[in-house]
Amino acid sequence: MAVDRREAAIPVAAPPATTEHAAGAAIRQSSLWQDAWRRFLQNKGAVVAAIVFILMCLYCLLIPGFWKIPGIWTSLKDYDPNAVDFSQSYAGFSLDHPFSTDKFGRDLFARVAQGGQISIAIGFAATFMILVIGVVYGSISGFVGGRVDNGMMRFLDALYGLPYLPFAIITTQILSPSGSVSVWTMVVALTIASWFTAARVVRGQVITLKENDYVRAAKAVGARWYRVLARHLLPNTLGILVIAIFLELPGVVLGEAFLSFIGLGINPPTASWGSIAQDGREAYRLHPEVLFIPCLAIATLVLCANFIADGLRDALDPRTRET
């Protein structure tokens, strides 16, 4: 019975190799995340980035289709992302169309929001899959160790030799031979092309944690390997995983934008930021705004994610503060 109590008292997400006193472990359990939250709030850049990030997500979720500012937008076609109106082709900035319109007279304020839904959804879905694969591969490799670890890491080294963009493009072609690329195809292709780093990071963390006293203690009192893994090792990788979300997200969003921009991404009329930018490319010499606005949206998202990742890293792991 004592064994169980001891294990329960071990913080679910104690900082790795913590130097804090062992006393009051149960209290520490909540206080790691509270401490991290407090440190995060002190980082002004990260907080601003987080607010902008949330506002952007809200804009993307709320604008398309049903949002209407009373008195300014008068009819449905003004804010329907797919409503075509050639009389409004490249209408320029106005209160009716705060982000102007594209060639077909589609309102970009609504379209960028709808494209953002797709871009952000692909971003989060692919990031989630990257982390799941990374955790499984990395924790097996790090936990088993020895020959298995060596082999798995060598395989990963070899995969690093594959060029990212061709690899992703070929995967989309395999998954959709007819050439119609769906959201899920994109998610899978981007995941397959970019899960390596996450796996490495998780493996590194698991190997460091494996040598900790509490893991040895758990093993010494007879905890099975799966219990050690599920109870002690994986919860402690939670911190780096939260950081990894915001490190992987920009890469995936940019990757999707690249593919859509060269015409190998999501199929029209579904919009993503990359495909709106591609639409804008036709006429950017005369109407640069159609290209620049989705690009600015991508840049803002990437910038925010970078700042949030920095802030989270400083907050969750103050020892490895990077300059």
């Binding site: 060598r154 395989f155 080294d157 070899a158 995969l159 690093y160 030799g161 594959l162 060029p163 990212y164 963009l165 061709p166 690899f167 493009i169 070929i170 995967t171 072609q173 395999i174 031979p177 920009p250 940019l254 934008a257 690249f258 921009f261 060269i262 015409g263 190998l264 930018a277 490319r281 950017y284 010499r285 640069p288 290209l291 620049f292 690009c295 600015l296 991508i298 840049a299 803002t300 990437v302 910038l303 970078n306 990077e322 300059t323």
Partner: protein, 312 residues
Amino acid sequence: MATFIIRRIIWTIPVILLVIFMTFVMMKQIGGNPFRKTERNVPPAIQANLERKFNLDKPWYQQYVYYVKDVATFDLGPSMSQRTRTVNDIIKDGFPKSLKLGLLAFLWAVILGIPLGVLAALKPNSIFDYFAMFFSTIGFALPSFFVATLLIYYVALKWGLVPTNGWPQGFLEFDDRVILPSFALGLFPMAYFARLVRGSMLETMQQDYVRTARAKGLTYRRVVGLHVLRNSLIPAVTATAPLLGLIITGTFIIEIIFSIPGIGRYFINSVFNRDFSVVMGITVLTSLIIIIANLFVDIMYGILDPRTRDVR
């Protein structure tokens, strides 16, 4: 040292085989048999002959062995959509242009990014430091196609300083058309270098041996030039390999935007034309470049920092 280098070189062979294998398997997944999907009705005898000529009647593992042999002898086969040309022709045509673009971009990154990082680290928290870090943050976040079109729109169209697109023919020919594409491609590695070098400089300056050197009475200049700079540039050397992957990815986009007839543009066109022998050839080629660059960086790293030799 020699053993380290030899071991490292031998290790790349299975990596190359594995990468070719993965590309091969992937192409088998999409490609199918190129002679079975034509509109023309090919008589079975001719079809069989064609298949025999390109070894398509053999089991996949033999095809793989043939392909590895072909790659080893630099013969990447015929193009499926451009009947008169081979993949070799296309690569011979496009690769020097892409290589030049990549090298110029890398040059921008080295000659602007590294000094930016060094200067920022010498005066941390100064106006210049903030400017450099702001610049590198921007360079990090802007997608390269945005940078490229922004540059075309303002520098080429509005101000008329340079042409909007095109690329000099010869490998050693340079004119004002190379400036914008290489800068647009080099911005990200530049930002990366600036950030990396600044961080590692700041860290090196905290080291004991730097304090010792100062305490011995060496001038600030000598300490920075001799001890700090050399040690803090090691991470920049290591970062070269992953950056190369990014530069290759970038060339694909930049070549499309600036209409540069490099391998990236051929690659994308070949994907649209479903010309998979070109797709495969270019993928294998870029993989080989990345693997060889990794090898080179590892060896350089082993020379610069002897502690890393024993790890492998």
